[in-house]
Symmetry: C2
Subunit: 196 residues, 2 copies
């Protein structure tokens, strides 16, 4: 064998991905239709499914790469000095997750490695999220009696919870941030530290 894949394969996949990004940028994730993607990519429908297990796998990849970019920004932030700082630093990441109901649903479904043994892009992003956040939490003035990785997992859980509730009543951003901060205060701050 020369290469595991032909260059043609790579090219076709790249065209599919580019077409998909185009569609999403013009409309939204939820409005993406496979038929529109293959039309723009100039390939047959079957080809799409030779490259992606299903439409969700494409979404997993596209959403995963967006989240990864956002995570790199988060990585560049210094350790938060308060829960309010943390909420602020998390802002863009959280904002993307709630940008569309459909996006949130996909993220939810794939955040836990998606029923497949192979870990997907979104699940990998959340692994990275924990790995990246744990040392920051450890360096922040937060409770020291718990494994930082576990604290990070809690932060993740509370984000999901707050987001789920935020999609309920369609209130603006404010209640979300406030709710997150309240969760974080209880979860991250050592008890007795009166100031929020």
């Amino acid at each position: 064998m020369t290469q595991p894949v032909q260059t043609r394969t790579l090219k076709t996949r790249a065209r599919l991905l580019e077409a998909a990004r185009e569609v999403i940028s013009e409309t939204s994730h939820g409005a993406l239709r496979v038929e529109e993607v293959v039309r723009r990519a100039g390939v047959a429908k079957g080809t799409f499914f030779a490259h992606f297990k299903d439409k969700d796998a494409l979404m997993d990849r596209l959403i995963g790469e967006r989240m990864d970019l956002l995570l790199s920004d988060l990585e560049a932030c210094p350790p938060p000095q308060s829960t309010a700082d943390l909420v602020r630093d998390l802002g863009p990441f959280v904002a993307f997750m709630r940008s569309e109901r459909y996006v949130f649903d996909v993220i939810l479904r794939y955040s836990g490695a998606a029923a497949r043994e192979e870990i997907g892009p979104i699940a990998a992003t959340f692994e990275r999220f924990i790995l990246l956040l744990a040392p920051k939490l450890a360096a922040a003035p937060f409770r020291k009696d718990a494994d930082p990785a576990m604290l990070a997992e809690g932060v993740q859980a509370f984000i999901f919870n707050a987001l789920g509730l935020s999609f309920c009543a369609l209130h603006s951003d404010d209640p979300l941030d406030g709710r997150l901060e309240a969760y974080f205060d209880l979860w991250l701050l050592p008890p007795g530290g009166a100031t929020a």
Copy 2:
């Protein structure tokens, strides 16, 4: 007006629900097909959608009623004396949520009142969950520096989180319970209480 709905309506809806329960008990939630339900109920397809906004609305209702039953069992439990007690009492409720990946997905999607202004059965169940669990947590030997309702919300968030992870690697029940207890220890126990 006499009644808001005709008796015919009630009968048809009951037949649809009964047919759906039948299908699920013979196969699974995920295997339910609307066409099979209407066939068994002896009505046309369009009739189904006159009674339920979509297939998910039927699932919302069926899954919601199951969870409600499980919640009543939980309600009958005395306040837990430890986080291990809590994990045990939560057992059947959690077991149902993880019984099928599809069920968990539906629950996740609808737990936050499902993008609709009207609150659905699953969302109502989680409201009841908080209302029911809060006083139990307050009566248990857990931390007293937080609003019990908030503690209950945290319990819910950690359940979702642990379940999401549990669907990843398909390990058995044990790691789930252990993970839950670890979360609860950190979230519910006053720091300093050394014993787990």
